[in-house]
C-alpha cells in the first residue's frame, strides 16, 4: 500500500521524537527517519514539517557556522514541543492499538 498518506499523519510525531533525543539539522533528521525504516519519507515533507513545528513553537532553531562550507540549521525541541510529543505519543499508541485490534478481529 501507498504509505505516503500514512506518513502524513505521523510525520509530526516522528520528527518530534527524533529531535527529542538530540538537536539535529534537517538532512540529519531525514536520514534518521529513513534509517529507522520510513524509507519513503520525502525530504521536502520533513523540511516543511520542521518549518510548521517551528512556526507553532514546538521547535527552536539555531545556526551553526561551518568551517568548510555553508552553515547548518539545527532544530531542538521546546517544552511545548515535548508536551505535544507526549500527547501525540499517547494518541498514536491508542490509535495503533485500536487499529491493530480491529485488524486482528477481522482476521479471526
Amino acid at each position: 500500500m501507498d504509505t505516503t498518506q500514512l506518513l502524513k499523519g505521523v510525520l509530526d510525531l516522528t520528527v518530534l521524537a527524533v529531535v527529542d533525543g538530540e538537536d539535529a539539522y534537517g538532512y540529519d533528521i531525514v536520514r534518521k527517519l529513513r534509517d529507522s525504516g520510513l524509507t519513503d519519507v520525502g525530504d521536502a515533507s520533513v523540511y516543511g514539517t520542521l518549518r510548521r513545528l517551528y512556526a507553532a513553537g514546538s521547535l527552536t532553531s539555531y545556526v551553526v557556522p561551518s568551517e568548510s562550507g555553508p552553515h547548518r540549521k539545527y532544530y531542538g525541541i521546546t517544552p511545548a514541543g515535548q508536551g505535544q510529543l507526549k500527547q501525540q505519543r499517547e494518541d498514536w499508541s491508542h490509535f495503533s492499538t485500536t487499529v491493530t485490534q480491529i485488524l486482528q478481529g477481522a482476521r479471526a
Partner: protein
C-alpha cells in the same frame, strides 16, 4: 569565514536547484522564505554527496511538497514566466493609476473617469505631434512646412488607430505589445519634455526668430500699435496685406473679412520689415535717425530702415484691421499717428497699388457672384458672374 565564502563551497547543481525552489516560493514573505530555505545549502550538499545529484529531483515538485508539509497554501501565486510577471507589473501599475484617479475624484467630488476617457484621444493627437516634431527636428523642417503637415495628418491617423486598438501595438493584450506601447508613450512624453525645454512649442525657428526680433523692436518703450501678434501665412510665407478681386477680376477696396467664427481676420503684425527690406527706403537724415527707434534693419547691410506701418480702416466706432487692402505708409517710428489722415497731411497712409491690375474672371456653376457695384438681391442678373449661370 563569511557566508559568501561558505556559499562558494556549494556545488553548482545545489545552488541552481535551490534558486529554482526559491523562485517557486517567491510569493512568500521574505522572512518566511529565508526561514524555510535557510541552511538547505548544507543539507543538500550532504544529500548530493550521499545519494548523487539526481536525488535532488524536481525543484517544482520539491517546492510543492515543502509548501504542503509546511501548511502554506499552494498556488497563492502560481509559478509564472517573465511575460506573466511583466503583465502583472503592468496590471499593478494600471490598477494603481485607476485607484489614484478614483481617489483624486473623491477629493474633487467628481467622477474623473469620463475626463480620463476624454483625455485619451487628446493624448493620441499630442503624441502624434511629438513624433512629427522629432522627425521635423531631424530633417530641419519647420512644423508649418508642407512635409511636416502631411506627416502630422498621417501620424495623427496612425496614433488614433493605435489608440483605438486597430493597429499594432494598440489593442493587443500581448505582453510585447503592451511593453512596446508603454515605451513609445514614455518616449513621446520625453520628446514633449524636450520640446518644452528647448522652447520649441512656439513654432518653427523662423517664427521664433521673427517674434524675438519683434519683441526686441517693441521693447524700446515705444507704443506698439497692435497688442496681439497676428498673422497669416500662405504657402509658408507671411501675408502682410490682402488684395481682393471680384469675380470679374477687378481689384476691390474696403472688403471686410471674417473667419468661420465671425472673428475679424487680422493679418497685420507691426512693423512690417519684410516689405521694407523688399523695397529699400531712402535713409533718414542723421539728426532724425538719432531720434527714431530703429525698428528694422537691412538684413544684408545692417543699415537701419524705416518700417512700413499699416493703418486701420474705421467704422466710426472702432479701428478695423480686417478691411482690405489696408493702407500703409513708411514712417520713422512704429507708433500710429492719429493725425495721419488729417486734411492737408502730406504723407497720409495710402493703399498701395495692387500687385496685379486685374485677374482672370472666375465663376462657379449655380452661384451668383456679387459685386460691389450691384446689389445681388435687387438685380442678381446685373452681376458680372451671372452670365455663366445655366
Amino acid at each position: 569565514m563569511t557566508t559568501t565564502d561558505a556559499e562558494a563551497n556549494v556545488a553548482p547543481e545545489v545552488r541552481l536547484f535551490l534558486a529554482r525552489v526559491r523562485r517557486e516560493l517567491a510569493d512568500l514573505d521574505p522572512e518566511v522564505l529565508s526561514d524555510i530555505t535557510d541552511g538547505l545549502e548544507a543539507d543538500f550538499t550532504e544529500l548530493v554527496e550521499e545519494r548523487g545529484p539526481d536525488a535532488l529531483g524536481d525543484p517544482v515538485e520539491y517546492a510543492k511538497e515543502l509548501r504542503a508539509a509546511a501548511g502554506i497554501p499552494a498556488g497563492a501565486r502560481p509559478p509564472r514566466g517573465l511575460a506573466e510577471q511583466v503583465d502583472g507589473f503592468l496590471d499593478a501599475g494600471h490598477a494603481r493609476f485607476d485607484a489614484g484617479v478614483a481617489k483624486l475624484g473623491e477629493l474633487l467630488r467628481t467622477d474623473l473617469r469620463p475626463v480620463v476617457a476624454w483625455l485619451r484621444p487628446l493624448w493620441w493627437i499630442v503624441r502624434a505631434w511629438a513624433a512629427v516634431w522629432l522627425v521635423s527636428a531631424m530633417f530641419g523642417w519647420s512644423m508649418s512646412s508642407a512635409p511636416a503637415v502631411v506627416l502630422l495628418i498621417v501620424a495623427v491617423a496612425v496614433s488614433m488607430l493605435i489608440g483605438a486598438g486597430r493597429v499594432w501595438p494598440g489593442g493587443e493584450r500581448g505582453t510585447l505589445a503592451r511593453v512596446v506601447l508603454l515605451v513609445l508613450n514614455a518616449f513621446a512624453v520625453f520628446v514633449l519634455f524636450m520640446t518644452w525645454a528647448s522652447g520649441g512649442v512656439g513654432g518653427s525657428e523662423y517664427d521664433r526668430g521673427w517674434s524675438d526680433g519683434f519683441n526686441e523692436a517693441g521693447a524700446g518703450g515705444y507704443a506698439t500699435p497692435i497688442e496681439e501678434q497676428a498673422g497669416i501665412y500662405s504657402d509658408g510665407r507671411w501675408v502682410s496685406n490682402i488684395y481682393p478681386y471680384d469675380a470679374s477680376g477687378k481689384p476691390l477696396t474696403g472688403v471686410q473679412l471674417f473667419d468661420q467664427d465671425g472673428k475679424p481676420i487680422d493679418v497685420v503684425t507691426q512693423p512690417d520689415c519684410t516689405s521694407t527690406t523688399a523695397a529699400p527706403l531712402p535713409p533718414l537724415a542723421v539728426d532724425e535717425l538719432d531720434m527714431a527707434e530703429v525698428a528694422c534693419t537691412d538684413e544684408m547691410t545692417g543699415e537701419p530702415l524705416q518700417p512700413r506701418i499699416f493703418y486701420p480702416w474705421s467704422n466710426g466706432a472702432a479701428q478695423l484691421y480686417n478691411v482690405f487692402p489696408l493702407p500703409s505708409r513708411v514712417q520713422p517710428d512704429t507708433a500710429l499717428d492719429p493725425n495721419a489722415f488729417a486734411e492737408g497731411a502730406e504723407d497720409a497712409p495710402a493703399i498701395q497699388e495692387p500687385p496685379l491690375a486685374t485677374v482672370p474672371e472666375v465663376s462657379l456653376p449655380g452661384v451668383a457672384t456679387s459685386s460691389p457695384s450691384a446689389s445681388p438681391s435687387a438685380s442678381p442678373s446685373a452681376s458680372a458672374g451671372t452670365a455663366d449661370k445655366p
